[in-house]
Symmetry: C2
Subunit: 350 residues, 2 copies
DNA sequence: AATTAGCACTCAAGGAGTCGGAGTGCTAAC
DNA sequence: GTTAGCACTCCGACTCCTTGAGTGCTAATT
């Protein structure tokens, strides 16, 4: 079946398509037959190239901006390019981003992720987006409550991945220092090792029971204390390199800039965009994207999985005219490495 | 002296200048004499207005974009406007941003600051920048070290303002759980209550002494442990509403967009910009700014002080054509409120 | 049969003219 | 001191033209 598709095109058309797309990715200018012939990559005259181009256009792989412009790749063209023409690229160029970070003494997963995003966007000059790692599977290592004043305190949750979550709470009047200590002990005893996402439920069932015995003013105190686990743990999004995009000729149109940045302000949409990706690299080109605002971008995602559980997503957003070759191999490398790191992380988890 | 300056201009010129600047702030279009006369704000003919405008231009308060355009305010014009024409505005329109946040149960200073920035930018549609609160004066409430694996741990510093700072460290081989506990106890005993900025020094002098007695492999262990206090506590910058700027007609020029966003990417420059402001509201217009990239913006800063110590800065960055009236009263209100809040915070500090 | 050369045609981009509108400065009249 | 009137200026939008890079098609060449 795969060969079928390839057979649709002659050897020469394949070569041509490849060269044209490469050229356009490089320069952002429509590619003309004459210019191509002169470049010397192709041993045919401009006329021949013209004929082939016409065929490729008829087949839907190329298109023109107007009747006498050169050709630019259509989305179908890019799709074909991504699926069939950039296979043989080895990803040996990848040199461990994560391992470098770790040798620099960065152990906290979130931080590793964040810095990876930065490196990724620097390396590609596109916008890097990293989701998660989701808190699914992340387990409570320890809870602490540190009183600040008589009415306020900070609750600190530490997870097995080295993530620290903290929030300020107000303290119930009825509680004193030793009560608080007891309470924290109970909570730790009962909840440590449990997945963070389940903490809220467990607090209501397990802990509430026990607290009834200890706390005088039970009802009221609960009021205050539930705040510790109240917020849903937000999926964290790290976006890096937004202003890289401004350098692209595609962004000479101010309205594109506006719509791009307004998307970037709507964090939830980005999360939705990346939330449900399947394992492996996935390339979505232009209108293949569901969100209006990125219909003339391409998005390349690679999701991190630990077992069946999705732990996060690494993505690069750039123009349709993306350097797919480079980006895909980078992303493959990075997500492999991250998955391994994840694995190691959870192995140490006892 | 002040009256002297005011006396430079006639009553009518004052009125005119005011109306012209108001109009330009509103519409971003150069203001013409005919249009002004028609609006009915001014009981003089277009010709009279023209004459006055010519005088105001000669005095340097107005300028033209080209020989037959309407007038726009010069920087000197804005300066005069800000210094003398918007005084009588009461700031009774301000309705406690911070107090609202606090009643919503937000106690941590950093979070209050961050959300204030968001509200501020929403309210003004300019870019809000908040610096700090600086960690000067912030004191250590508690230090904790939570081991994750046998080689790694998280160190958590909690300050009296409810700020939580955490970093991942690697553990020295020679240390075991009970050693670690002892160590943490020592550190807490000696360092709690000290200003966070002094911790690093104290660690080397006070703590190092004591540790020599307890730790076998002293030298090596110090290697690892100093990481806890190693990083300088970075001044935190909260920027909100960058994309608001894109809506301004001033930003139809893509190059301005580029230079603006590239400034926003260089956090240190922003910090430098705001670091050394004197108490009170300060307005810097256009070329009065030192940084090239904001020479056609205006920046309004208001610094938070606690006693003599600068605790942070609230700022709004917008076009020279800013709604100074509104912005200044807002900023006054907010910084008053924040200063008071700061004061309360530190009162509770024992 | 495949390739190439040649030619007529198309379109975008950029420069040169034209025109109307909104503004100005100046002078003379009120 | 104020206003009306008039000549003048400049921007921006519009049209017209030219140029260059491209195309499609046909006929000649290999």
């Amino acid at each position: 079946m795969l060969t079928e598709v390839i057979d649709m095109l002659t050897e020469r058309q394949l070569l041509l398509l490849q060269v044209i797309i490469d050229d356009f990715i490089d320069t952002a200018h429509p590619v003309g037959s004459r210019a191509l012939a002169k470049k010397g990559d192709i041993p045919y005259s401009a006329a021949t190239i013209r004929n082939e181009m016409a065929d490729l256009e008829e087949l839907g792989f190329l298109e023109k901006m107007h009747s006498s412009s050169g050709r630019i790749p259509s989305e179908k063209g890019y799709r074909y390019y991504v699926d069939h023409l950039i296979k043989p690229i080895s990803n040996n160029k990848y040199n461990g981003i994560v391992s470098k970070l770790i040798t620099e003494g960065i152990f906290e997963f979130e931080q590793v992720v964040q810095m990876s995003a930065e490196i990724l966007s620097d390396l590609t000059s596109y916008t890097a987006i990293i989701l998660g790692p989701e808190v699914f599977e992340t387990k409570l290592k320890q809870l602490q409550i540190v009183p600040l004043t008589s009415q306020t305190a900070v609750a600190i949750l530490i997870t097995n991945t080295g993530h620290v979550e903290h929030r300020s709470i107000s303290l119930p009047e009825a509680i004193n220092a030793s009560d608080l200590e007891k309470l924290v002990n109970i909570i730790n005893e009962k909840l440590v090792g449990l997945p963070v996402v389940k903490l809220q439920d467990m607090f209501y069932t397990e802990i509430a029971q026990i607290m009834k015995q200890y706390l005088d003013d039970y009802e009221k105190s609960m009021q205050y204390l539930k705040a510790i686990f109240a917020t849903d743990y937000p999926v964290k999004v790290y976006v890096s390199g937004k202003s890289n995009m401004l350098m692209l000729p595609e962004f000479n149109d101010i309205n594109k800039v506006r719509s791009f940045y307004s998307l970037m302000d709507r964090e939830e949409e980005i999360v939705n965009l990346l939330k449900d990706s399947t394992p492996g690299i996935e390339v979505t080109i232009g209108n293949e994207n569901e969100i209006e605002a990125i219909k003339d971008f391409s998005l390349i995602t690679s999701s991190l999985h630990h077992g069946k559980e999705q732990m996060g997503t690494i993505a690069l957003l750039g123009p349709k005219r993306m350097e797919y070759r480079k980006v895909i191999s980078l992303l493959k490398g990075l997500s492999n490495e991250m998955t391994n790191t994840l694995y190691m992380w959870y192995k140490n988890d006892d």
